[in-house]
Symmetry: C2
């Protein structure tokens, strides 16, 4: 015996349409009312939040076998379609608390953008439809944005010790670029006028 | 500046039917002639290898950004359908060279089994169809088996420092269990009579 296997393997089942994950051991969701300050257009947000505060904007289901270095977490991220002002629905986004940890996202439904930013404020973006895999390199802040009319669902995996740092985005007034509605229902990147730099 | 991002993120595109991976940086394939000794029925193997030695049995495409601890490798595994004797086509299988590293497999096409075995010789198996995710826990030997009539395609991710130990299977005469054809085109596990124990 030169090695041990302390935990059991797990079968999970992804529902590509709803983003459900049978076998997940934890779940969290963000409702519109939880996301004050995330969108640039505060007036549009307040108007929507007055009536739709309980509307779910995104949901995460995952399996977290451990937080041991070398282990992995796997789950699904489901972002509803919608806009606040000219800005598409997005997740809060994060840098990993251990910043040099990557993340893999595999789109299984919908149409989204993985918006990324490095320590110098450089923006990168990967457009995703079913079959697209985004390898988010170590050290890149990242957030999912739903630029389609349907749910944007990804299957993600990342190192179990990575953690999430959300404050790195809030401290800078957001990310350097915003993903907004372009003419004809498409999307484009524009500078975030509230951004204070890294 | 409290962190750096030394590498760029990457967009990959999975072809679910062929297992192709646009954006992959490395590929390898195993042909029938490479797999002598893998299947129990040596006579059936020799008969097939006489004519089909060049037939591709499985192919792996991946992105290997680094082999640094904390980074990740992502790719696709594509296993053709077929049998040798009563045994379904399978990969050689491996334990990670750093044994306590897990792996995540997400089936996007076909019908397969993730066959696993721990250090005590305990067998585990996860049946996979599109949407099934197998979290292969740290310390488990694992191999993919195609029990369907079509290609079995998975998207996998694992820690970049994990490595592969193939010899652990060869040394023991294979894995404790074999996946063979059951009546009616289904599959079942049977003890591997050549297995010498861990």
């Amino acid at each position: 015996m030169t090695w041990t296997a302390e935990t059991r393997s797990q079968k999970l089942v992804v529902d590509e349409t709803t983003g459900g994950l049978e076998g997940a051991t934890s779940t969290y969701e963000k409702r519109l009312g939880d996301l004050e300050g995330l969108y640039l257009d505060g007036e549009a947000f307040a108007g929507r939040a007055a009536t739709d505060a309980e509307t779910v904007v995104y949901r995460v289901h995952d399996l977290r076998p451990s937080d041991r270095p070398g282990d992995m977490i796997v789950g699904t991220s489901t972002l509803e379609p919608g806009t606040i002002g000219d800005e598409y629905y997005m997740t809060r986004g994060h840098l990993h608390a251990i910043a040099d940890r990557p993340e893999v996202y595999h789109c299984v439904h919908g149409h989204g953008v993985m918006l990324m930013e490095d320590a110098d404020g450089t923006t990168d973006a990967i457009e995703m439809t079913p079959g697209t895999v985004a390898y988010v390199a170590p050290g890149w802040i990242h957030r999912s944005v739903n630029v389609g009319d349907d749910r944007f669902v990804t299957v993600f995996s990342y190192p179990a010790d990575a953690g999430q740092d959300y404050a790195v985005i809030e401290r800078a007034g957001g990310m350097a670029s915003r993903v907004i509605v372009d003419d004809g229902g498409s999307w484009k990147l524009v500078p975030n006028e509230r951004y204070t730099g890294r």
